[in-house]
Assembly symmetry: C2
Amino acid sequence: MPINFRAAKKDDLTKLVALLADDDLGKQREDISSPINNAYLKAFEEISQDPNNQLIIAERDNCIVGMLQLTYIPYLTHIGSWRCLIEGVRIHKNFRGKGFGKLLFEWAIEQAKNRNCNIVQLTSDKNRPDAIRFYNNLGFQATHEGFKLILRNT
Amino acid sequence: MPINFRAAKKDDLTKLVALLADDDLGKQREDISSPINNAYLKAFEEISQDPNNQLIIAERDNCIVGMLQLTYIPYLTHIGSWRCLIEGVRIHKNFRGKGFGKLLFEWAIEQAKNRNCNIVQLTSDKNRPDAIRFYNNLGFQATHEGFKLILRNT
């Protein structure tokens, strides 16, 4: 099962936006119009320029299998520690249920260890029972409530 | 009720670590030995050098009332949006129940708006019922599970 992990490139953006939008929650909030909405290009530049952010693609046979974003954050807490936050996780529907999500997460957790993080954390919508089961199976503990305050809808 | 908000300085660190440790959960994981553990100094430098991280103090009459850390994160999701993550929130025990937490959060939310964030998010330990009530009262919605994977204990 050869799978490759790499930083996303500008040329990937149209496919990544389509992947984000191909989802019950994502389809309500993304814009898949063509040409690509300039806000995605701007966000991509901001992510790429920040050494503490990585937008990652999993690919196989030149197809995008999945994606996620890693953010490394330095904190005073836990005696001055780094933490890795994971967001924007998607596995393409053609590749679900085949263990690719697990491979992507194992790779991401390895990156967090390489960056000297004490904790990997993420929030998962309570309306995504499959995702919640997936994270539990990976050893994540839902010890916290994940609070959001929406300031502005896109 | 005059209260001032500012970025933390190196000279504040001993007091900030004491504040982090003066807490049921924090006392199990912080190091209040003197001189200050060098890991706190290193973390402080890393936070201070990152334009997307702000370690903030609320003070009154030269006393530290509370603290929190803001992290601004660019994402592809929500049509390329910025999000503000809040962590390491503490109100000094002498200043609790007086509305200072609400003032600190109102100030933080204003910063997130100034940085063009769509969402403010945070996680709160399910063992902190008072904190959970506080965030609910501020309008935060606990729509997500907050998952943590501990890689290494400090």
